[in-house]
Symmetry: C2
Subunit: 155 residues, 2 copies
Amino acid sequence: MSTTTRWLDPEESRAWRAWLDLNNRLFARLNRELQATSGLSISDYEILVALTDDDVPEHSLRMYELGERLQWEKSRVSKQVSRMEARGLVERRHCADDRRGAFVDLTDAGQAAIDAAAPGHVALVRELFFDGLNGDQVRSLGRFATSVLDRLADD
Amino acid sequence: MSTTTRWLDPEESRAWRAWLDLNNRLFARLNRELQATSGLSISDYEILVALTDDDVPEHSLRMYELGERLQWEKSRVSKQVSRMEARGLVERRHCADDRRGAFVDLTDAGQAAIDAAAPGHVALVRELFFDGLNGDQVRSLGRFATSVLDRLADD
DNA sequence: GGAGAGTAGTTGACATGGCAACCATCGACC
DNA sequence: GGTCGATGGTTGCCATGTCAACTACTCTCC
């Protein structure tokens, strides 16, 4: 506690600031673009992607499972689903087995929305993020992300 | 527009998801920690860091300059400063030269808050982010961030 | 079969961000 | 010196996220 702080050296400081800056702008840009072209927010998009994942039968998930997959708070899931339900992108359905529970079902409109939004979104991610990275760099980035996630695991 | 979408391959997809996940959790963790140990949010912290930067005379900046440095919307700066002013961390001061303008001054309490918060915050950034990166990797991460930022520049 | 712990989901209070509209002032130009 | 576009800042409205409390079940164990 009383140890002298090891501040970031200039190289690290630059890298850290660039990282912060990068993320702010990247997400802001992706969000704006998504909003402008398809009326979806990043959060909408993430829900829709989760529901259209290959291993999701019937495009339907329990609330809590959605939360686990996205690593979201349950209240966040609940509110996001409410907003999207109001716009007709998903529907809640009561769970017969567990009367506390609820399913979230993708609607046709939701499917249409993700179909319309995905190509442009992926293209932008590619353009901004992956262009200029070769295979090795993608792998090393992946390793780095994974190693930080490991250190974050003890939540 | 009618071109077939080039979806992300499995490697890219993993890297992208890991990246998203990483950022969510990293920022959440840094925020929680900062909040718990010093009662500051990341946004508070960023403002205080900007005001205590070496090249800032008198720990005082014009609102618009704060916005430029942080790359924040002006309304965001205004609101954040209001909240921090209410807690005594900064003060607004009228600008004599330009009667539209306002300075933001760091208060003693603000200085004390950043002094108290910085060591723990930096230590956590180091522990979570830089540990396990050698100098080469830091540099290559920095280059990557910079290259993406360039592509984002046309905002 | 009933008490109590745990789980699924919702809600309310609050902090935060973005966008657009607004006000006041500045500055350039006639 | 007056007009008009640009600039600095604030505000309101809305979307989003967190945390903590609350409801309603389910499960375990006696």
